[in-house]
Symmetry: C2
């Protein structure tokens, strides 16, 4: 049999690849018949005027991929692929890369001036070359010990926690950490109670793992533990320091009641402390984890709101009693946060920058909070009612409006305002509004845009 | 009632916090009786010789946390917490942070000289300040468009793929991406077939989501599609380009058979291409995704082996037919990879560094592969048999040894050798051995250590 490829000797595509591709196409299009014999390497080399190595490389690639057989002492034969249909399997052409911008909300994200890039950059440049980081090896499944020690100290001193580093698990977001938690508890629990309204992204994770969901309505006095008692859930996901999104604080008697419920029912409390660090009225409200004497609380923390949302670093603090199970299964899960980022953050905390940073953003957000609240009152008078919130990065408003929800949603998007509807009764619309991203100088403009969204 | 706190005016702890803590302890220890009235702000201010603001701050913190009530026109009263037990709820003392080193295997991770830190660092310093990165806002759930375009091109040109950017989902590790995939397919499938031996960390994810697992034994001629046909699984997780850990390549007829199976059974093939990029014998084996005409293949890729394991950047390519479901649920899942890292990688690829890097590591690992293979042959002669592998970062060996498995495991750890046992029959032990991390100059020493592990 003779093969007559058209080869481009000027192309930067190696000749052996051109030959390989030619023969491959001849086979898949059926032009080279099954079982027929290819010219020997010597023959092909002379007839095609190519080096033996070129022919050899092309043939061996075809053998490796199973298009031809190498029968010792006999030669190379076409495999029988006649039963398969190879139409249009050419790879797609290279498409041009064009940069792309996502819609950026005016009020989303963290304050532009709050974060000291230069410090982070210095620590990054240090960490990536630091032999201790060892970027060439994979990450510890639980998280780098140095960072876990810093986080443990942080939670103990800043959030009144009671933790040790071996309870800390680092991961790229609360959702991934919940997946690991479910791996720990799924043999014991299958039903979870969640706040309504609450943090849906947590609920979604439980749904994906086929947990039964029990919604417990949060009323003006906060989360009703009595309702939890009535439900069959033995796990509850809750945000006691600053209920999301309503912003209520769980008072100490309710906290003790909740802990008592967990203790008596062999239950588990998952405390989501997404922004408990940030409170203007006074000190942050101490965490539930620190009040817990019976090892019933899983604490979830994140640096998305307190540091940067674009860095994905969160952590989970596991009760000591669950550690034996975790240690048993921890190697089932790979670490999801970059080891370099972990070390940068550890140094950032170790050098005291985190505490300074928190002081700074508390100042900034307090200004934004009061200025926005004032602006809304002056602009909308009694048409809007603000559930005063002295912590976190969002406020909750009830607005009198007859404008249709869908229309409001669309206009909010149009004016780049991130507005989370909570619910609507009669002519009142309740929604939460981030303000962390708003430029302090632009708060009046922002308020005017909000007016367009709600009323025009 | 009179309160007499001992306050340290020299302490750097604010006086209002000292006062707040004092009263709180008096309440939780029962020394201040329920319903009793606290001195008014004016009284306390004069008797304790503290500013009114100090008293006010302490009181309002106690009100916020629910330890005391503020009854308008009457004053501040102790709440009744007598039914709760507050023993030992003081936060734990700050423990000293000491740096910590994990056991580092001699042969784990990637080559020390393969990665050009300076380029990465330059791009990082650029990306973190680039307004386009916008570190202050959260990441796109699917991954930054710029990176998805680069990855799509990369897979098309380097792996013979047929993809467009909207099929690409970026995430911190194959496990997290599998979680999202399961979110997409769980209403349609509940059983998955996996290779045995295979990549357990993928199997674990399916187990956590309560999928039924069907193990299909990989034999010398690779993955038996016939067995898959017999099973009730409609989803299969497979590594066709370089079976993990055995290293076999799936020939084209088997690939077509597998694709045919998926098409006829409305099945789904999950192609794990963890190191298919790296092949010494010739070009990489084109991916299954590129051969697929019927939109049945999910492609999983990662930069852990090809770039750095300490960066957690992986990606999943979804068949077009699953995109509508994905688009519907994508906002349920937060992005798990740092936006900064995503932009750095996108620029790294866009400037052509990735292709250069792959050429470099191919050279390096080819050397290590042949040098280790030779070393093992010369040192252990016929006591060890190496299943020649011309790709990837590990080799598979069968060694004649009577030494007990457990002992071998312990000694491997002792000598910092990462050795994955595959199975043992009669006196033969089969295991896979990473070589990417071994220093080229130390391969003989490494081989000697391996001798100790296997035979001494």
């Amino acid at each position: 049999m003779i093969i007559s490829p058209i080869l481009d000797r000027k192309s930067n595509k190696p000749l052996y690849i051109q030959l390989y591709e030619y023969i491959k196409t001849e086979i898949t299009t059926g032009l080279l018949k099954p079982h027929s014999k290819l010219p020997s390497i010597r023959e092909a080399s002379s007839t095609l005027n190519l080096s033996k190595t070129t022919i050899e490389s092309a043939y061996s690639q075809l053998v490796a991929e199973g298009y031809i057989d190498n029968v010792p002492k006999k030669g190379f034969f076409i495999c029988d692929l006649s039963e398969y249909n190879f139409d249009n399997i050419e790879p797609s052409p290279k498409h041009t890369v064009q940069h792309y911008k996502e819609i950026q909300y005016l009020n989303e994200g963290v304050d532009r001036d709050s974060f000291d890039i230069s410090i982070w950059r210095r620590l990054y440049n240090k960490a990536i070359t630091d032999p201790e980081t060892n970027i060439y090896n994979s990450c510890s499944p639980q998280g780098e010990e140095f960072l876990r020690e810093e986080i443990s100290n942080f939670v103990n001193t800043m959030r009144g926690g009671k933790t040790v580093p071996r309870q800390v698990v680092v991961g790229a977001g609360v959702q991934y950490l919940l997946g690991i938690l479910i791996g720990i508890i799924k043999n014991k629990y299958d039903t979870v109670a969640v706040e309504k309204p609450g943090f849906n992204k947590a609920k979604f994770v439980f749904e994906d793992y086929n947990f039964k969901i029990r919604h417990i309505a949060v009323n003006d006095s906060g989360f009703p533990v009595s309702e939890l008692r009535k439900s069959d859930a033995k796990v509850v996901y809750i945000s006691p320091s600053h209920q999301y999104p309503l912003g209520t604080i769980m008072p100490v008697n309710k906290r003790m009641e909740l802990l008592d419920w967990a203790y008596k029912n062999k239950g588990l409390i998952i405390e989501d402390d997404y922004d408990g660090m940030i409170r203007y009225g006074g000190m942050p409200i101490p965490s539930l984890q620190g009040l817990d004497k019976n090892d019933c609380v899983v604490y979830l923390g994140s640096f998305s709101k307190t540091l940067l949302p674009s860095l994905r670093i969160s952590y989970m603090i596991i009760p000591k009693k669950l550690l034996p199970i975790y240690v048993e299964i921890k190697n089932r899960y790979t670490q999801s946060t970059s080891k370099i980022d972990q070390m940068v953050l550890a140094h950032f905390m170790n050098e005291g920058h985190m505490v300074k940073h928190l002081r700074r953003i508390k100042r900034i957000y307090k200004k934004k909070n009061s200025s926005l609240t004032e602006c809304l009152k002056n602009t909308f008078k009694d048409k809007i009612e603000i559930n005063s919130s002295d912590s976190g990065l969002h406020i909750v408003c009830s607005a009198k409006t007859n404008k249709d929800n869908q229309q409001i949603k669309e206009d909010a998007k149009k004016f780049r305002i991130l507005l989370n509807m909570i619910h609507r009764n009669d002519s009142k619309l309740m929604f939460s509004l981030n303000y962390s991203g708003i430029n302090l100088e632009r708060i009046q403009d922002f308020t005017n845009l909000l007016g367009k969204v709600l009323y025009e």
